[in-house]
Symmetry: C2
Subunit: 242 residues, 2 copies
Amino acid sequence: MRYFITLSYNGKNYHGWQIQPNGSSVQETIEKALSTILRSDISIVGAGRTDTGVHAKKMIAHFDTDIEINTTELPRRLNCFLPSDIAIQKIEPVADDLHARFSATKRSYEYHLVTEKDVFCTETAYFYPGVLDFDAMNEAASKLFNYIDFTSFSKLHTDVKTNNCTIYEARWEQVSPSHWIFHISADRFLRNMVRAIVGTLLMVGTKKISVDGFCQIIESKDRCKAGTSAPAHGLYLTEVVY
Amino acid sequence: MRYFITLSYNGKNYHGWQIQPNGSSVQETIEKALSTILRSDISIVGAGRTDTGVHAKKMIAHFDTDIEINTTELPRRLNCFLPSDIAIQKIEPVADDLHARFSATKRSYEYHLVTEKDVFCTETAYFYPGVLDFDAMNEAASKLFNYIDFTSFSKLHTDVKTNNCTIYEARWEQVSPSHWIFHISADRFLRNMVRAIVGTLLMVGTKKISVDGFCQIIESKDRCKAGTSAPAHGLYLTEVVY
């Protein structure tokens, strides 16, 4: 039987989602907890890989087991067993051919940025002091819909076959006078893509480049032209749709 | 000239507001920063003392100096100098007889409680798993308006002359399915009072005592009858009125 786990985590203390040779990962932490509780070696497959320090308000992972599972009791036991920075919201049986990664049709991220020092967001939002032109940043963000090849915002030398992504949402929302959230959704994301887009939008916001310049960077398909990646601790995976 | 500082802090790494023989305090950290920047020994007086681990969304403190101050520039310089868990919002000249502590007419606190594991609130809200009767807790909270002597919720052996407080607000607000905030305002608060009230309201919420029992605890003027203090990390000073 295949099960979907819905979970959240604060990425601060993890070397990302995926199991790493050095440093603990969210995936490994959950696998160990599940394997201990179910007394059986359990492997889980996540909807995507988040980098070191990136958070998830909602991540989906699947695992297979023949062991009978009480889907009310197991999340409760896992939450007691897991550290305070990983929380299981739900475990539910799904069709055997539903794959947490390959069956996902849409993923959403948020990037949180504060323009004033905020003592309650030091580890969960990027503090960028100074004036940003969010109108220009939103205009540039809307240009993302015109493109499908995002080579300019991908990590170099990855093994993906295509750098094509369909963008469904890309906009900055102001949630308080000094707190902004960049919402972005797509069918798929390249490694490092959201942070590279945010970093390049910040170049627009500080008038280092124009909106046209932003478009030229995408058209160049040259990662070196894009901005520095925005820091990991402002980024959250927020939704995975199947 | 006297100045008011408006500031916020995350109390996690501090032994409270007030200077302590062991461990760093918010007051000391700010005094050192101010004294360094102004090249003069500066003492500050806060609107109140918060305990170890308690946060402030808004704290007011005053200091006196004859040095000419640029009230636009100084907050900026202080924020660069101070650690990321203390932020200065404003510095403004006030009348010489306005006292941050003694002139305050009203103080407000929030107590944050989550009933589900929340990976983004582990250090800023109290995680209380299980079912709480918030209707009963709100009914009990409303009884606070009927009393002025809160000896039952005070620390024993303090040097205050009276345990009388006038309560202006006391209510639980639900801000998300599993996140509740207790709002309380009064002319003054006794040491440990808010956390003792929250701890006793939790006894109502778990049906260990009734609303009448809550009133009897207040009337007994006996600290030993009240509930255990709720943990510090859920508590925030949020407003001081003059």
